[in-house]
Each structure stands twice: as structure tokens, then as C-alpha cells.
């Protein structure tokens, strides 16, 4: 993000801290959602064993990879569609 305006005030200390904290918050939330969803999709709910089976482990790995890919493609498509519809699409990470 670049501030090109003349005489535009620098971000305050509080703003800078909040920006970093917010970025980490976004990442943490994504992590939390991924864990919930992939657990639901991959882990046997009868809990017959205390350890992950090989199949469950592999499923989790693949679920994580696909979750990220879906995140990316949805982000790209949303940006494209928003622009096409004349919206001022914000910066999507």
C-alpha cells in the first residue's frame, strides 16, 4: 500500500500495530476454519482409536491443500467478478 498524497499523515503507532495484528488475525482465523472443516470431513466421529489412521492423515493433508487452492481461486474469481460488475474491489489477500 503506498501513500502518494502530499501532506498525507504517516500511519500512527497504534495504526501500524493494529495492521500487523490484523494480518495475523486473518491468518489465524483461516487456520481455525480449516481445522474445523477438515476435521469434519476426514476424521471418523466414532473415535474408535486415539490415533489418526493413515487414511485420515492423508485425507487431512489433501484437505488442507485443497482448502488453500479453493481460497486462492475464490479470491481471484471474486475480484474479477466484482470488477466486472463495476465494484471498487478491495485488495484481496
Amino acid at each position: 500500500m503506498s501513500f502518494l498524497g502530499f501532506g498525507r499523515p504517516q500511519p500512527t503507532s497504534a495504526e501500524k500495530i493494529a495492521a500487523v495484528e490484523n494480518e495475523l488475525k486473518v491468518v489465524a482465523e483461516m487456520h481455525s476454519r480449516m481445522v474445523k472443516i477438515c476435521t469434519m470431513k476426514c476424521v471418523d466421529k466414532t473415535y474408535r482409536e486415539g490415533e489418526l489412521t493413515k487414511g485420515e492423515g492423508v485425507c487431512l493433508d489433501r484437505c488442507a491443500a485443497k482448502f488453500f487452492e479453493a481460497h486462492q481461486s475464490i479470491s481471484e474469481q471474486l475480484q474479477k467478478e466484482t470488477q466486472a460488475r463495476g465494484g471498487a474491489g478491495g485488495f484481496m489477500g
Binding site: S13, K16, E21, L24, Y47, E51, L52, A65, F68
Partner: protein
């Protein structure tokens, strides 16, 4: 991680992140209880937990922690790769 903050600002950030971590732990704990209780406890003909239910909950906790670990590793790898990919595009 180079956050571009001064030392004092970094300290403030660290404090906030620690608070967040505690909150996050409580969230994980809460989810664990909700999830394991829902999956394991179905029998309300008795007030006391059966051996079956206790065993199930114990296994559920172990499995959930293994899942967290595994997904934590995958997430770290994938997130780093995604960040790299975005750097390349900028």
C-alpha cells in the same frame, strides 16, 4: 518477521499477540469439548458417564490433538508457499 515497527511497538504487538494466543487456546478448548461431547455422549438414561463414553472422549482428545498438529504443519507449509507466490506476482 520484519514488521517495520520500533522496539517499543514490537513489545506492544507481542503483548497483544500473547492475549490473542490465550483467547485462541480457550477457543480450541471449547471446540474440543463441544466436538467430543457431541460425538461421544448420547446416553442420558444415567447421570454418570459410562466407561464407553469416557474412553471415547479420551480417544477423541488424543485424536483431536494429533489432527491439530498435523494440520498446523500443513497450514504453515501452504501459507508460506502462498505468501511466496504472492510476492512473485507483485
Amino acid at each position: 518477521m520484519d514488521t517495520g515497527l520500533t522496539q517499543a511497538e514490537n513489545r506492544e504487538l507481542e503483548q497483544r499477540l500473547q492475549k490473542r494466543q490465550v483467547k485462541e487456546f480457550m477457543n480450541v478448548f471449547g471446540s474440543l469439548v463441544d466436538n467430543c461431547f457431541t460425538s461421544c455422549v448420547d446416553d442420558f438414561t444415567s447421570k454418570a458417564m459410562s466407561n464407553r463414553e469416557n474412553g471415547c472422549i479420551s480417544r477423541c482428545v488424543l485424536k483431536s490433538m494429533s489432527t491439530q498438529t498435523r494440520l498446523g504443519e500443513r497450514f504453515g507449509e501452504l501459507n508460506a508457499a502462498m505468501a511466496q507466490e504472492m510476492q512473485k506476482r507483485m
